[in-house]
Amino acid sequence: MRKELAQFKPLSIKDLPKEDWFAPGHRACQGCGTVLPLKLALKVLGPNTIAVSSTGCMEIISSPFPYTSWKIPWIHVAFENPASVASGIEAAIKVLKRKGRLPKKEKINVVVFAGDGSTFDIGLQFWSGALERGHNFIYICLDNEAYMNTGVQRSGGTPKFAHTTTSPAGKVIHGNMTWKKNLDGIAIAHNIPYFATASPGYYMDLINKVKKASLVEGPSFLHIYSPCPTGWGSKSEDTINLAKLVVDTRIFPLFEVIDGKYYILNRKVDKPKPVEEYLKLQRRFRHLTPEEIALIQERVNEEYERLVKLCEIFAPPKEK
């Protein structure tokens, strides 16, 4: 087990600073579950952080010139390339420190915030390259499971049968016909120092994962579930419910993978709630037949069992 993580002492809510580095007054929708984890992540990372955003909701709602929500240095270049931009920033920090043009001892976090469109689809090669090259940065995928900024079109992160504007629940074709892409598997396959999933429903877990990501040397990848009331047709007040339910139904298990080899299940769900409880809170699933719900349930069970096995077989060595 790597040292940075073996000695990690989890933060409690009392350890968190009062300051936020993402200012209120931004233009996110009511109940936005994407901006929430973003704000929490910055709380942990603090002011010595440079953030890179992909094009998308979080960029749009935070930077209508001349206003900005970012109290830290922030850059947005394009849709697919935030990991490449971060590569350049990280390389620059490294060489400028070496040459004495930046203070050598000061740690500067480099963090990417990208949506599922940017991560599952158009930017796949870019973050893959950045992870493979080993840049010291944190990649955070805020996954709200469709292209929300352009009006709810399907992405590789959209779940099976979900209604979106490009996978409408039609009379013949019942919503999105593909299973959600196995993003976690792809990210883990890069054997990066730290990978984790998180949900704002379990915010202390999320906060501690951001902290761990900032402690490891090298790339880390966080896949964060981000409810979107506007795109999902859910109630704003249900955002946190959904962010808990998605874990409690085993749809989105909370786990970590260290160095691509040690699997840790952070929240074992022994008495799972049926997926239907989660699905019925969202209009994007309202057309589902009982058979389709059963199919989803079957898939969720299968994937969860597989993950539990992985966590048993590849558990981290016990610390002495």
Binding site: P47, N48, T49, I50, V52, S53, E59, I60, S63, P64, F65, P66, T68, W70, K71, I72, P73, W74, I75, H76, V77, A78, E80, N81, S84, V85, A86, S87, G88, I89, E90, A91, A92, I93, K94, V95, L96, R98, K99, R101, I108, Q125, F126, S128, G129, A130, E132, R133
Partner: protein, 389 residues
């Protein structure tokens, strides 16, 4: 002064980049740019150049990483050709709008299809409107000198610069090249200091949304910056001349003083064209040559001055702008003339696509065609020269 040594131009260009003490290099291989970035990797890995070398997975990432690095205050370099330039396309406009002093060498190559690795200007002509300063080298020495100049100008104007050299014809040729002493380069090029950068001590927001109320002004600001760069470009060449002894100017002329027919061409083919000028003059035809070294910002006044009193002008383009009113340079030249009182006849030919040889005889024929166009109006607004029947 430095020594004159025989060097492959790509190697010399990479050495010049190293002499500029670049901080971050980010590049992806594409023929015929490869020797430049290979040599830089060699210099870094041998400890001869203290820089971060990011071997990115694509050209799009190459420029993206340069944007990130430059925005953090590092001196950056990338290089590409043809498809690579097209793949990084969207970032080109962002780099200039962000006012980042990135330097890129483009080893000019034709664009697909058909796929071809040989030289013409079809790649760089697609980025005319990108807001980058763009210069063209005729030979190896000029290519090297334009690299030092590029950093000087980029960092003074806070604008990206693309230095163009013909793929293979320049990049892969061994030439005697004078590499200046390091002290001289250091004197010419002080360390980069950026007022606005990604610095946690002084946070800024880069890449905000430009609502309709501000987008026009943002574009106007970039336009003014590029316009204003002209003075800096010329001054930087003057300073270069004082320090390094070689003189450069935005537009180069050859025997234009008394010319009745002129020719315009960019890049290395100008050397062949000069021979054609000499041959024509032997036959008693007063012809001359104009070469744009600076392409963006377009050197309007230098161009009009260079024209002298020609009756006709042959614009030789190295790229096609399909079914428009001319080749890219031809369109530009006609538009420039329309804004002046000079009205020479303009014959616009497209030649040397994808490395097709353009010989002295070809250029002489083009001159003859131009003479004919004075009395007999051509039936075309542009023509692709030398097409096999």
């Amino acid at each position: 002064m430095g020594k004159r040594v025989a060097k492959e131009v790509s190697i010399a260009v990479a050495d010049a980049v190293a002499q500029c003490r670049v901080d971050v290099i980010s590049a992806y291989p594409i023929t015929p740019q490869t020797h430049i970035v290979e040599h830089l990797a060699e210099l870094v890995n041998n400890g001869e150049l203290d820089a971060e070398y990011i071997p990115v997975e694509s050209e799009h990432a190459a420029l993206s990483a340069c944007i990130g690095a430059a925005a953090t205050g590092a001196r950056t370099f990338t290089s590409t050709s043809a498809q690579g330039l097209l793949f990084m396309y969207e970032n080109l406009f962002i780099a200039s709008a962000f006012r980042l002093p990135i330097v890129m060498v483009i080893a000019n190559r034709s664009i697909s299809a058909p796929i071809s690795i040989w030289n013409d200007h079809s790649d760089v002509m697609t980025i005319r409107d990108s807001g980058w300063i763009q210069t063209f080298a005729e030979n190896g020495q000029e290519a090297v000198d334009l690299v030092y100049h590029a950093y000087k100008v980029a960092e003074k104007c806070l604008l990206p610069v693309a230095v163009n050299l013909d793929g293979f014809i320049v990049t892969h040729v061994v030439e005697p090249i004078e590499m200046p002493d390091q002290e001289l380069v250091d004197k010419y090029l002080p360390p980069l200091k950026m007022k606005y950068k990604l610095d946690p001590k002084k946070p800024i927001t880069m890449g905000a949304i430009g609502v309709p109320e501000i987008y026009t002004e943002a574009k106007k600001a970039l336009d003014e910056a590029l316009k204003a760069s002209y003075k800096v470009i010329v001054q930087a060449w003057r300073e270069f001349e004082r320090l390094f002894g070689r003189k450069y100017q935005p537009v180069e002329t050859y025997k234009m003083e008394d010319a009745e027919v002129g020719m315009i061409i960019m890049g290395s083919l100008a050397e062949t064209a000069m021979n054609a000028v000499d041959e024509m003059r032997k036959k008693g035809k007063k012809v001359g040559l104009i070469r744009f070294r600076l392409w963006r910002p377009f050197p309007m006044q230098d161009f009009l001055k260079a024209l002298g009193k020609v009756k006709a002008l042959c614009v030789v383009d190295r790229a096609v702008s399909h079914c428009s009113t001319g080749g890219p340079v031809g369109i530009e030249v006609r538009s420039a003339l329309y804004q002046s009182n000079k009205r020479p006849k303009v014959l616009n030919l497209i030649a040397g696509l994808s490395g097709r040889d353009v010989t002295v005889e070809d250029f002489m024929e083009m001159f003859e065609m131009t003479y004919e166009s004075i009395s007999k109006k051509p039936k075309f607004s542009y023509q692709i020269y030398g097409v096999k029947e």
